[in-house]
């Protein structure tokens, strides 16, 4: 049964996910070209000055990509369920509703996580090509809030799509956007190092929360 549930999710997401994977690889390639270009047209000292004195991010092109990816995955995964009330088809399957919905989000979030790992590994490798390992590790730590933004955007969009009542949908969207806003306040390196574990822990609350709109969808009064 689990394989069947995962099969359906993969059928919905495969092309979108492969498209997103291409976009992420393309973004990393662009980042490589951009960094290389800067080292070719500027003196190394100047780039060091930008990075260390002015605290200018040299890879901020990546900033919004995880959040956008999370939202796109959620839309691709849950819009087919909600159009025409197809969610009822899934809710009639002989499997517990909470298990079903959690399997869906684990799969969707898992696909997003694969792209996040790709981003983090790619970012580390790229920065390592031009900077010492400390700078590469710092780049990944700096990008972690953006990657968490992907998780938040995925669950925020999921909640808004699964929720049957329009006012609650707006509340979920507002909560998601507010959380995302918290993750994009920084201007320099590693500014979230101390608060990020707390934000990550708070974002875990999204996992049980998805059951609520699904339950309301099942038992509308």
């Amino acid at each position: 049964m689990l394989r069947a549930i995962l099969l359906k999710e993969w059928l919905k997401l495969r092309w979108v996910w492969l498209g997103l994977a291409l976009v992420h690889v393309g973004m990393l390639a662009y980042l490589f070209l951009s960094l290389r270009h800067q080292f070719q047209v500027e003196h190394s000292e100047m780039i060091w000055y930008w990075a260390l004195e002015l605290r200018r991010l040299l890879y901020d092109q990546l900033m919004l990509l995880p959040a956008l990816t999370g939202a796109v995955i959620a839309v691709a995964q849950f819009t087919p369920e909600m159009i025409g009330g197809r969610f009822r088809l899934s809710l009639h399957l002989p499997v517990r509703g909470d298990v079903l919905v959690w399997t869906w989000v684990v799969f969707g979030a898992g696909l997003g996580l694969v792209l996040s790992v790709l981003d983090a590994a790619g970012l580390y490798a790229l920065v390592r090509l031009f900077f010492p390992p400390e700078a590469a590790a710092s780049a990944v730590l700096t990008a972690l809030p953006w990657l968490l933004g992907g998780w938040v955007a995925y669950f925020g969009t999921t909640l808004a799509l699964l929720e049957p009542a329009a006012p609650r949908r707006l509340v979920y969207l507002a909560l998601g956007l507010a959380f995302l806003g918290l993750l994009y306040l920084h201007r320099g390196y590693q500014e979230y190092d101390r608060i990020l574990p707390a934000l990550a822990a708070a974002s875990l609350l999204f996992i049980p929360a998805v059951i609520l709109p699904a339950h309301r969808c099942r038992h509308r009064s």
Binding site: A4, L11, S221
Partner: protein, 322 residues
Amino acid sequence: MQNAVRSTAAQTSGGGPVGALAAESTTGPAPAIEVQRLAHRYGSRVIYDDLSFAVPQGKVVALLGKNGVGKTTLIRLLMGYLKPSGGQCRVLGEPSHALSPATRARIGLLFEGHLAYDFMSIAEIERFHRPFYPRWRRDLFYDLVDRLQLPHEHKIANMSCGQRSQVVLGLIFAQDPDLMILDDYSMGLDAGYRRLFLDYLKRCLEQGGKTVFVTSHVVQDMESLVDEVIFLKRGGAVLQMPLAAFRDGFRCFRFDPRGGPMPAPDALIENVDLHGREPLLYTFATREQLTEQLRERCPQLRLAEERAMTLEDAFIGLTGKY
């Protein structure tokens, strides 16, 4: 009006037939569907106030009613997608809002509009559903679907409504359910696909032991399919009886008012149709009973011959045109 069950607060007071059914249901097997004192409303609009009926196991029962009387709402309540404001529904012995996965596996549900995962192909949708149902009949699915002469990689999104209906019906048959709930199976189907749908359904029913609860706007299809009919009227009034009893007992008479007062629906007269070419009167009463009553209330009225009716005529006669 033998073997008939009427429900609603106003109509149950007559008592006799309702009591008969209650006695029957305590001695026979538990009904596949049991609705007791169901109430539901959308905002201030009351859909049902006090709706009660039962679908016996092994029977094919049609829920008939005009648009907007709440047929689809009732299906949604039965499957737990809506929470009733009052009363209760039990499906295969379990409360409809808390059906266990094992019970859901025994219910084949056709959603209005032949809802399906249209991003899947024929093969994918079969592969997806198969693991959920222990009695899965792959042969039945492909027996029906292969008649479409489409490759198994064909996407459901690219199918016509009729083709999609075959796939959905194939999935329900392959599930080999004990109870089928078919919500407006005829929606969007031409006569050929409708007939095919019914032929397969009848063939499936020949195995025995299946209960079917069906709604449809194509009343004439019910003639050869169902054992019992439930007529649902606006506000939740319900009349349940064997189809044969309805066909035998429901009558239509032409009449000539001759300038006197027009008859109106009452305990004896179900409906009066003054919109047609000739005035018609519908009743479960015999000609003699009707004549006697009309002699008192509309003395100038002359009752003409009884008219033969199709099931659709009788349905419209009972529920009215408007």
